[in-house]
């Protein structure tokens, strides 16, 4: 959609530069002249919000790494040093910890948006799959980062997650010892986790580059799920329309971010993590951070170790197969009443699993978690394929312009005829 750039720099220096490296032309065609569907709603602002959160996490993370010490004996103390002694250390650390929460919140809204409006369907399958890869990298990075403060919950989390690999038949235990650099999580583990926690965000940056590239080839989906047919009628320029909208949405998001940082900075942190890691005792109630709770509930719901681990990874991997599980030609749930109903059931299931993941496992709750786990996979494996062929969809508009500008569209259609 972007096509060859028509950008001509105004200054002589700009023209000299552009004829040697067309960097400004790339920026211009991608973020200024780039046509965006005119019916986008605020759900489409989360790409910009996520880009901002990624940059914020990298900037605050680089600063924290200047003061943090990745050593089993000193890590916990160095976090307190950051909180008490380093100038604005408390601020930067709270920006980083709460930033992770808002990063995941924005990511989940972005993903549910994609599922609701069918953004994963042709021609955006690769775009979607790259997104699933980014999500997986985010979860890995967040997990590695959570280990670094070396609190008791950091230690328990590191133990549980690395032990997932011990479920692999025959070589599982050898792999965990290799991963730990010892017979249990310890100093070598902490050091390598720090190294990888610093590395992965830059790999995410690369994957985001591919994500945006694929987006700009296929073009954005939109709330009506019909493709752009006439760029004149169906789209508006990225700048100023989408830019201003993104900036406004980001401003609102920053208010929430600031509220978290300044008013409830420890709300998402586990009190147990204020105790230093103790390899000889596990906290009474081990839970991951909120953004991983649904997967934790799925892991616990299954009474067999290997199957539980497989279900955990399958619950994320299944997202990559959405383009082939949902075969309905209609993209947007706006025109799919039955799909829309089941979408909201799915949202409730995810939230329910999250709540169950935060609770101590009793027999009753485990039973509910099993039902919801079946529901989670059922949405993808039964509801989606079934609705693809049986659902009676509402008529979709002929074009984006027809959807949002009914009167004008009629007049235009009459004029064209």
């Amino acid at each position: 959609m972007s096509g060859p750039s028509t950008y001509v720099p105004k200054s002589a220096i700009g023209r000299w530069f552009e004829s040697r490296l067309p960097l400004m032309g790339l920026v211009h065609s991608s973020f200024v002249a780039y046509p965006t569907p005119r019916n986008l709603n605020y759900m489409w602002a989360f790409g910009a919000i996520l880009s901002f959160m990624l940059v914020a996490q990298i900037v605050t993370g680089v600063v924290l790494a200047m003061h943090y010490v990745p050593s089993a004996t000193e890590a916990f103390g160095s976090i307190n040093h950051i909180m008490r002694d380093v100038n604005y250390g408390w601020l930067v650390r709270y920006m980083h910890t709460n930033g992770a929460t808002l990063f995941f919140l924005a990511c989940y809204i972005h993903m549910f948006r994609g599922i609701y409006y069918g953004s994963f369907k042709a021609p955006r399958e690769l775009l979607w799959i790259i997104g699933v890869v980014i999500y997986f990298l985010m979860a890995a990075t967040a997990f590695l980062g959570y280990v670094l403060p070396w609190g008791s919950m950091s230690f328990a989390g590191a133990t549980v997650i690395t032990n997932l690999l011990s479920a692999i038949p025959l070589v599982g235990t050898a792999i965990t010892h290799w991963l730990w650099g010892g017979y249990a999580v310890g100093d070598p583990t902490l050091n390598r986790f720090f190294s990888l926690h610093y590395l992965l965000p830059f790999i995410i940056v690369g994957a985001v580059g591919l994500h945006v590239w694929a987006l700009h080839v296929a073009g954005q989906n939109n709330p009506d799920g019909v493709e752009v047919k006439n760029a004149e009628r169906d789209t508006v320029a990225f700048t100023p329309y989408a830019t201003i909208k993104d900036v406004f949405a980001l401003s609102v998001w920053l208010i929430i971010y600031a509220w978290l940082i300044f008013y409830i900075p420890n709300y998402v942190l586990d009190a147990d993590n204020s105790n230093i890691a103790n390899p000889l005792a596990t906290p009474a109630h081990v839970v991951p951070e909120w953004y991983l709770l649904p997967f934790y509930a799925i892991l616990r719901a299954i009474p067999n170790k290997l199957m539980g681990v497989i279900a955990l990874f399958a619950s994320i991997a299944i997202l990559a197969f959405l383009p082939w599980l949902d075969r309905s030609p209609v993209k947007s749930a706006k025109y799919r009443p039955t799909y829309r109903f089941f979408f909201w059931v799915f949202v409730v299931i995810c939230i329910g699993l999250g709540w169950l993941g935060s609770q101590e496992p009793t027999e009753g709750l485990t039973l509910i978690a099993r039902f919801l786990t079946v529901g989670y996979f059922g949405f993808f494996l039964i509801i989606m394929p079934l609705l693809s062929f049986t659902e009676k969809t509402k008529p979709i508009p002929a074009s984006i312009a027809d959807a949002v500008l009914p009167k004008k569209a009629d007049a235009a259609a009459a004029a064209q005829a």
Partner: protein, 173 residues
């Protein structure tokens, strides 16, 4: 030769290409292995192979946790009832069938790794339905012989290598 038209005889160039490729592959593997193996437990970790514990001060009914190879080991001074509970279980009821006798050297002393065989958390002693151990992470329940009875863990708590040096001294590892 009729076959010459369909199958070309290997030339010197093919030979050089294959041998150079093979040497290159060996070179890549030789560089990759140190980069992978550097993560394995190092010499200083392997050196901490055994630990000695004085068990004379542990009263009946108590569990003491000691550190061996950077992880916990439980030393449980079992009561008569706990020993009987462990011994009187039909093997058919067990997920990982082992007799109590095969897991101890002296019935009153149970020595097991304090690592849940599910995902590695440290179970809590005297808890759960069988008053053996309960894992706080995912609810695995072990009996007074450290055998898995309920929950997601697949195996019994591991019995490390150990030896009684005297009646009150144990060497683990």
């Amino acid at each position: 030769m009729a076959s010459a038209a369909t199958i070309e005889a290997p030339s010197r160039r093919d030979f050089l290409f294959l041998t150079a490729g093979a040497v290159g592959a060996v070179g890549v593997a030789a560089v990759a292995w140190p980069l992978v193996d550097q993560m394995s437990p190092d010499a200083s970790t392997l050196a901490l192979a055994s630990t000695e514990v004085d068990i004379g001060a542990i009263p009946e009914g108590q569990i003491v946790t000691v550190k061996w190879r950077s992880g916990p080991v439980f030393i449980r001074h079992r009561t008569k009832k706990e020993i009987e509970d462990g011994e009187n279980v039909p093997l058919g009821e067990l997920r990982d069938p082992q007799t109590d006798q095969s897991r101890v050297k002296k019935p009153e002393w149970l020595i097991v790794a304090g690592v849940c065989t599910h995902l590695g958390c440290v179970p809590l002693g005297h808890e759960g339905k069988y008053e053996g151990w309960l894992c706080p992470c995912h609810g695995s329940i072990y009996d007074t012989s450290g055998r898995i009875r309920q929950g997601p863990a697949p195996l019994n708590l591991a019995v490390p290598e150990y030896a009684f040096l005297t009646d009150t001294r144990v060497k683990i590892g």
